[in-house]
Symmetry: C2
Subunit: 126 residues, 2 copies
Amino acid sequence: MSNFQVVAEQFVQFYYKTFDESRGQLAALYRDKSMLTFENQATLGAAGIVEKLTNLPFQKVAHQVASLDAQPSNEQGGILVLVTGVLLVDEEQRAMSYTQAFQLVPEGGSFYVYNDVFRLVYPASG
Amino acid sequence: MSNFQVVAEQFVQFYYKTFDESRGQLAALYRDKSMLTFENQATLGAAGIVEKLTNLPFQKVAHQVASLDAQPSNEQGGILVLVTGVLLVDEEQRAMSYTQAFQLVPEGGSFYVYNDVFRLVYPASG
């Protein structure tokens, strides 16, 4: 398995575990130039991103990853990650599908999140 | 509206129109270093990508975009695009949900597709 695939899998596992247990701690994954677009709402910078994530209107959340794809995003070690999965919030019984794209950028032996785009995916009605 | 948003919207409109009408012509959007991961199958390079896309097991396909998000992916003009939508193939009546992430890279006044990751999204069963 290529290294970018291993990094992507470790990142995704850590990201959703942290999100589901204590999402304020996601701050460590973002920098001032990081971007989040969450359901069409754009936020720039770690502080604003974590404020956005911690203020989402639910207390409990559980993500379950269904697919994870990774590709090198440039020749400097960046990694594009596309996740699909389902999530459950609070006492809601019905899971929602979502997709999330990340770009991870290397920094001092680790990676931070440069791009983060999240969308719920509604069932096709056709 | 920011320029990257306009580029992303024009790209997505052109991409799916071309895909649905004559997908062999998507070759012009890829380069030798472009990557496609289509339902977990990875392909490198324009020739292989177009072969993969033209050999997909359907004759007719229609994409309908439900959401489009874009962010700058680096300081050299790259653009990350995340699409969700539905598609119909051949005579199938039931639409399928999908998500697709692209990274567009500038080249000579235009852009090519460096990263392309496609996944069907199945309804959450919870």
